[in-house]
Symmetry: C2
Subunit: 519 residues, 2 copies
């Protein structure tokens, strides 16, 4: 669906002009996550928290969770849990004892130690969109299967934006690479284009082991040094309702045995794979997540675990999933209360149902991102670039979302709400009086350069100035910013020996056939 | 700036098709404001609140406020305040005594008593955009001076949407009507097209008196009944820094003497007419607002007053005002803390700097609206339809904003976060087990029709279905909704005698020349 107007204005207005003049594509806030200082929003009372906890414990004790993984079943049996075929029932005291072993806070250190991130210390961390099979951008004007080149472009955005704190899963699936070797090529791209924390998909033993090895090689670490502290993470989804499948659990076991972090994120759509009531969907999600976390803590006491939430609603007429709705916000906030109850860092998500980066995409994603803030989330997955319920990655959407995330960062600058005598400024008010203007006062002049956040994408000019400059809507400006970032992108420095070791590993594993597939 | 794509698709997709089939333009939530149940966001500590209060009191005691209104100066002198030329200095004890007389809660009852609104009882009320001189819509594709016809269209949206609780100022200035009689024609339109609470501009004694009379006639009230309780309100802005002008104060005095409500809203742009520091801008705003409210409470003890906030920042390079920024959100939240300290209902605003109803418009307005929620605002002005910093009214933006406001309403439905046994639904989870789906269960079937909010504007379909239906972006869908609402709009019932009395009054006042102007 080509957009003539968009193609005409691909240059991107002011940002395009800036790039042509050799200036940086955008001016952005420095690296460094925001610390949430607002009290969390807590829709549940204490009795509500207790009731959801009790519900989750009853699910684990009375109904049980299916583990489609023999090793896990054996471990549960060894731990004294009751297993019936593949269903595991676990005593609440055991679950709580295991969950109590999980650290409330931990750090993940990527190949560039300056990009280390700490989870659970009150900061909120944002990652790129992960795993959409398809790509859309404004110059293309249509939805296409993702490619390695598009994936690399999105990895450049992931690296470029300081507000993106980690590189999650593949920002788009590179469908032009066979699945047996995709993880090798894309991790090579990710580890050379980015120096931020990366992730391994738990999609089979070979892929998990390969990616751990690549992360080790990229950082030039010995095997001992790699395993000594978290360097990366995996994220798994349960197969709701009430199931964990083989590769997800297997991947986590491999990771925790090498000291790496795991994130357990049930995907419970209320009314579909979870009860239609939000409290029910949250309860199911909590039970599924805790069952896996308890197992991991049994295997590797104190291993770094994150509890994830992905509870939303569906359109009850069509079954279409909804994101960024009031239901989604409340479910996230409720899960935040539960995560604090269990002392676990929480993952939430940016998300939307919109198909293009328009007003709907903005209000849905804004609701999702702010509800993560309100929930006290440590990690926000899919925070930039997501469209169509996660089926499309879009660079324009990525740029738009980073504008919103920069707003969140600025929102938590402590100085913004300082109210000492210098800020209240009665003297400056007296000096200006009833007939002056504040711009020229020393009080303003001393502060004006840093007083306010300067966004890189918003256009605050009046209509006439905006119109004279091409009347460019936000999605089209975002496209221009995207092009300018690509133009000026420089990969972060990497030790030549590390890069060579990484390339050699990829070559060798490709020669061996990569990961086995049945196609 | 015509948009070919928009013109091609003016029908508005699904909504257009629905209207052609004779269905209602949209399905919306019923009339009835949301009650804020979240704790307010409080960036200031207790000492911060005390410091801003002290700063505001020092401004009133030491610097003083200019009142360009002789009657007000005389009243202040009578009350024992020090006046030097037009500057009034007032003792903090007197100010606090006067402010303490203001009711924490009151009701305004329009011609349809079912549309009465209560301020200060924990509910949040939303009003249409007020006073933009210009109009933009997608079919027009350019910015034009507002007309009576466009104003009437926007009044129809004001009446149609249940989430719009009151009809604020003119949703666009009808520049095709001479200013001497504009208030007569537009109030006639407003009072016949809407049955919600209306407003009078404090722009000269004749206009205020005319509008009060028209509100009385539209409701068929005796003069005594009209004055017996609030039936309408006015909103005034101070002339920051540190000034109140003649007509604004005059209008309020006329209103309170007839028992009507007043809203005092300083417009303090940090770095321009207020200190560059947010705490300073908020302090100045508080001082200006309290100075007027103290006067009104001196004149009419217990008269209904609302404290307004309109503090934002500017682009320090261009001077362009910013809206929906982190600075804006924090200033609103801080003012909310101060309003609670003084026991006054607060007014906040929806706003944006964006020129068209695109992603920027959505994230800015969403931030503004949610920050009003977080601030515990009673009233949200300009909540729907505002573009270009208030210089443009847009029907598409009106429709988009109502979608967001409906989300806010839904967000506060108490049932949404209920966590009793029926909602936690362990039995339903046991029944479905690990291999079922929740849709067919009795637990779902009993609830699915009302379980989730069905938005009227969002498109949750997948990309292919959305593309097959015309690939319509949100602004264009909103245009379709707007057209459909106009097509099905029916004015609320009005007593024929009241309507005739209103028309006669307009005719008579027009024959008398309306309000005097110097042009």
């Amino acid at each position: 669906m080509p957009d003539d107007r968009a193609r005409r204005r691909r240059g991107g207005g002011r940002a395009g002009a800036a790039a042509r003049r050799g200036q940086a594509a955008i001016s952005q806030r420095p690296w460094g996550p925001a610390r949430i200082t607002d009290r969390p929003v807590e829709p549940l009372g204490e009795e509500g928290v207790a009731a959801i906890h009790d519900g989750a414990m009853r699910i684990l004790e009375e109904i049980g969770i299916e583990f489609l993984n023999d090793e896990a079943l054996e471990l549960f049996r060894k731990a004294g849990c009751k297993t019936t075929e593949r269903t595991v029932r676990m005593d609440r005291n055991w679950v709580m004892e295991m969950v109590g072993r999980a650290p409330a806070q931990f750090t993940i250190t990527p190949r560039n130690p300056d990009r280390a991130i700490t989870l659970g210390d009150g900061h909120i961390l944002f990652g790129n969109v992960s795993s959409p099979p398809n790509y859309w951008d404004l110059s293309l004007g249509r939805k296409v299967p993702g490619t390695r080149a598009q994936c690399a472009d999105l990895l450049k955005l992931t690296q470029y934006f300081n507000c993106i704190n980690f590189a999650g899963g593949y920002p788009v699936e590179a469908q032009d690479i066979h699945a047996s070797v995709r993880h090798l090529d894309i991790l090579f791209d990710k580890l050379t284009l980015c120096d931020k924390v990366v992730h391994a998909y738990s999609l089979g033993p070979e892929r998990v082991d390969d990616v751990m090895e690549m992360v080790r090689l990229a950082a030039g670490l010995s095997e001992e040094a790699f395993a000594a502290e978290p360097r990366m993470y995996t994220n798994i989804n349960s197969t709701s309702p009430l199931k964990h499948d083989y590769p997800m659990i297997d991947g986590c076991l491999r990771m925790i045995r090498k000291g790496q972090a795991v994130m357990v994120t049930p995907f419970t759509l209320a009314g579909a794979m979870a009860p239609v009531t939000l409290a029910g969907a949250v309860t199911l999600s909590i039970a599924e997540a805790l069952s896996a976390i308890a197992l991991f803590q049994y295997v590797a006491p104190g291993c770094p675990c994150i509890i994830g939430t992905f509870t939303s609603n569906v359109d009850m007429r069509s079954g279409a999933p909804a994101f960024g709705t009031p239901e989604y916000m409340r479910a996230t906030q409720m899960t935040g209360q539960m995560a604090r109850f269990y002392g676990l860092p929480m993952r939430a998500s940016g998300s939307c149902a919109a198909n293009v980066p328009d007003a709907q995409a903005a209000w849905e994603t804004s609701n999702a991102l702010w509800s993560a803030v309100q929930s006290g989330a440590s990690v926000v997955y899919h925070a930039a670039g997501w469209l169509e319920g996660g089926l499309i990655a879009s660079p324009e959407k990525f740029v738009i979302d980073c504008e919103i995330i920069e707003y969140i960062g600025r929102y938590f600058d402590a100085g913004l709400t300082a109210a000492g005598p210098d800020e209240i400024a009665v003297d400056a008010i007296a000096e200006v009086g009833a007939h002056g203007h504040f711009f020229g006062t020393p009080h303003t002049q001393e502060r004006y350069e840093t007083a306010f956040h300067s966004p890189f994408l918003s256009d605050w000019r009046n209509f006439e100035a905006w119109e004279a400059d091409g009347a460019i809507w936000t999605a089209e400006r975002a496209h221009g910013v995207f092009q300018n970032i690509l133009r000026e992108f420089e990969a972060p420095p990497m030790d030549a020996a590390c890069r060579e070791a990484l390339a050699d590993f990829v070559d060798r594993r490709k020669a061996e056939g990569g990961a086995s597939t049945d196609f």
